[in-house]
Symmetry: C2
Subunit: 485 residues, 2 copies
Amino acid sequence: MKPTTSAPPTRKDGHHLFQQVYEHIMGRMERGELKTHEKLPSVRSIALDLQVHRLTAFRAYQMLKQNGKVYVKDKSGYYVSPTPSSDLKEEANSNSELPELPANQPIPAYAHLRNELFHVQQIPVTYQLAQALIDPNLLPNLFLSEHVKQVFDKYPKVMGTYGPVSGDEELREFLCGYIAKSLNIPLAANEVVITSGSQQAIDLLARVFIRAMDPILVERPTYSAALEIFRNQGARIFAVDIGPNGYDLDQVEMMLKQHKPRFFYTNPTFHNPTGYTVPASQRKRLVELAAQYRCLIIEDDAFRDMYFEEPPPRPMFVYDTDGWVVYLRSFSKYIAPGLRICAVIGRKSVIEPLLIAKSLADNGTPLLNQKIFLHYFQSERMQQHVAKLRTALQLRRDIAEQELAAASDWKWVQPAGGLNLWVKLPPALSVQGLLAESLRQSISFVPGVICDPLSERNDFIRISYCFINESQLREGIKRLVRTRV
Amino acid sequence: MKPTTSAPPTRKDGHHLFQQVYEHIMGRMERGELKTHEKLPSVRSIALDLQVHRLTAFRAYQMLKQNGKVYVKDKSGYYVSPTPSSDLKEEANSNSELPELPANQPIPAYAHLRNELFHVQQIPVTYQLAQALIDPNLLPNLFLSEHVKQVFDKYPKVMGTYGPVSGDEELREFLCGYIAKSLNIPLAANEVVITSGSQQAIDLLARVFIRAMDPILVERPTYSAALEIFRNQGARIFAVDIGPNGYDLDQVEMMLKQHKPRFFYTNPTFHNPTGYTVPASQRKRLVELAAQYRCLIIEDDAFRDMYFEEPPPRPMFVYDTDGWVVYLRSFSKYIAPGLRICAVIGRKSVIEPLLIAKSLADNGTPLLNQKIFLHYFQSERMQQHVAKLRTALQLRRDIAEQELAAASDWKWVQPAGGLNLWVKLPPALSVQGLLAESLRQSISFVPGVICDPLSERNDFIRISYCFINESQLREGIKRLVRTRV
């Protein structure tokens, strides 16, 4: 059998070959495959090995030397430096964040992979105020069950095959019509992709649009898991404040002008975590700015239908004429979170690469879930359910606010929709201390700092009033405000 | 409102800051934000802008100069070079692969993102021989529908909430017991993660274990979408041949020794695309080699239950004592592909980072699909179904072989299980020509070259005999072998 050789090296977009060689050697040193004072392979042999030009390998070695990662001896040999030093503070800092790696196990490349929100939500507690999920008891489960049986009668082979990668044709046609009608804009089914929840939509868009060091813009505060995704992609993250009255558009423009972000990830309607809504007057202008500065807007609109008094302003997407907004509409949160259905709506330049990323990520969202969603969403019962749900959520918001009022120095702005209260604690109260003590009392909430792109503001907490029932909610917040730290 | 600044730059693991600055400037030039002969920001201002040390920015600019990307004028100013040149052939080659980018649309960072298999399978044809999916008519759809109704009676709130990120507890406990018993090895539920198909499992493991330029090992040929995933992560791909008698273990050992791959992605049982099975005698030895050379084995075992005469050898996973094998067991392919259920089984060092990647990718596989799968898989009917399915698939394989026999110079090895025939065409016949002409006749198949990690061997095709019914299959292959090009 003739030995096969490596595939020709492919250039990872944005990474030049000599940098890849550098990184490769660094990886081998970090994993202990090359030890202190060990001689590196010669330039000639590493070039052969990695199938790169000798100059490429030489350039990488020069860089390793410049950065103090290796030293030269006998004019020809490169050796691993005893203490990988760096004259640059940033590099030293970020290196020091790497945890110690065990020697005798498979070592993940991304040792820093993390998701703080996931860790907080993993902790089992009685008074769950960290989950921005709707209480399953508020969902029309029995009706849904009956309904699903009809879906199977109608599509007996629904579990027998994959759907298209872009999503079930019938569902996309329907959503297209629904959104075109409710927002009064023209749309085609090939401008819609179905993803497994908005989480997947954010992840795939990040993979499509970010490469290392690319600037992106987010709101401050923002959805923490989105932040982790952007960080993992190596984005440079800039932030604009979101307040009860929306953005400071001058600040937004300055950011767009100065940093030329690849995209602006926004959640302008019943914003997570604050509950704020960007006013209609700002939306059109923001889309103009996006087109002017060539910045894609990712508009995450998961809470639109969860309003309490009156419907929110129309999404920014409706003002977009040139394809600078991609619209994420997750319906499943308030219908059937277990289904994981989100519609991503955008123009060809966004949808085409997104589809390829989706095909590689999971080959398409399960067909069954899409058919169930489609038929339920079309039913009259669904509309009744949503109306009832609004009332129930408003009631829970009111309960939460009543109980929070006992803490006279805790401040928040009443949200007009959504699932969360964003509460400012008095300076004397430590969020970390409160969280630790709360967890001991089986109460959990989200510490606001994980929602801060700058990881600075440590005086807010997010309380989700949607997950536990009314009496538990009342009791949980009563106990929370009484907690002494 | 006080202006907020950027978050401190985070080091994307494996990418040093000056490289990130370099890439960032390259990106701006490629997107036309910095035009030919335009002056770059000064070192001082870019350092301020990117929040890096001035030396870091300087180093990046020096690199740009060295690589001919910019030129220096008036001793102080850096300007974009007219023709971004490179003295290195590889870099020039990979640059030329980048498509022309439109100026007035959001531009994906990964312009080279692609999935050839997806493109072939997208083409609608009558005689579909490119889909390695089981004919939905062979699946017990009516029983499944009845069955699902019971699932809803049993778990009325199953659509109301997310399951745990790692997967439904009950399902993981069950699979744990099932696999522990059938393979006679001890397992704990926290060693199991449920993913949305094995496609997602491969994607998440690639994200966890590969960084740019990392060597990995695959079989030659192999699953083409896995190749695309690994390429997108920037892996350097090495290959070992797989033949009717498995691997050449000397070649495998040489590869492990020489290239120190991060993992070996294997599909040793009714291998896709060839149908070959690695013999029992090699499996134990391969696991020993993996431990010796500290290489994770990703064992993709999607076709295990699709055997025709006798069950295949036990998986490599059973020989693993030190955590060097992660086992992907997708059951859904032959039960209900629309459910998208795969179990990833491994030790803590693999499972922990995988879980975080899963939480960021989609927050967990839908609970409904897991419960349906669980209850169906436990039923007696399922076992009967699988037995019948084996017979039906074997019959289709036989039909495919009978018809292929008409082409006396097409060669293949009879597979003992799985869904595909791997057919070697005579040298005179061009695969691309045959595919083009076949598509005109509404027949499609997978050209073997996309399964070749080295993109060289253009004399094989993959024929999937599982998707269309017997008479269509007979007719489709009859027409295929008669196709004149």
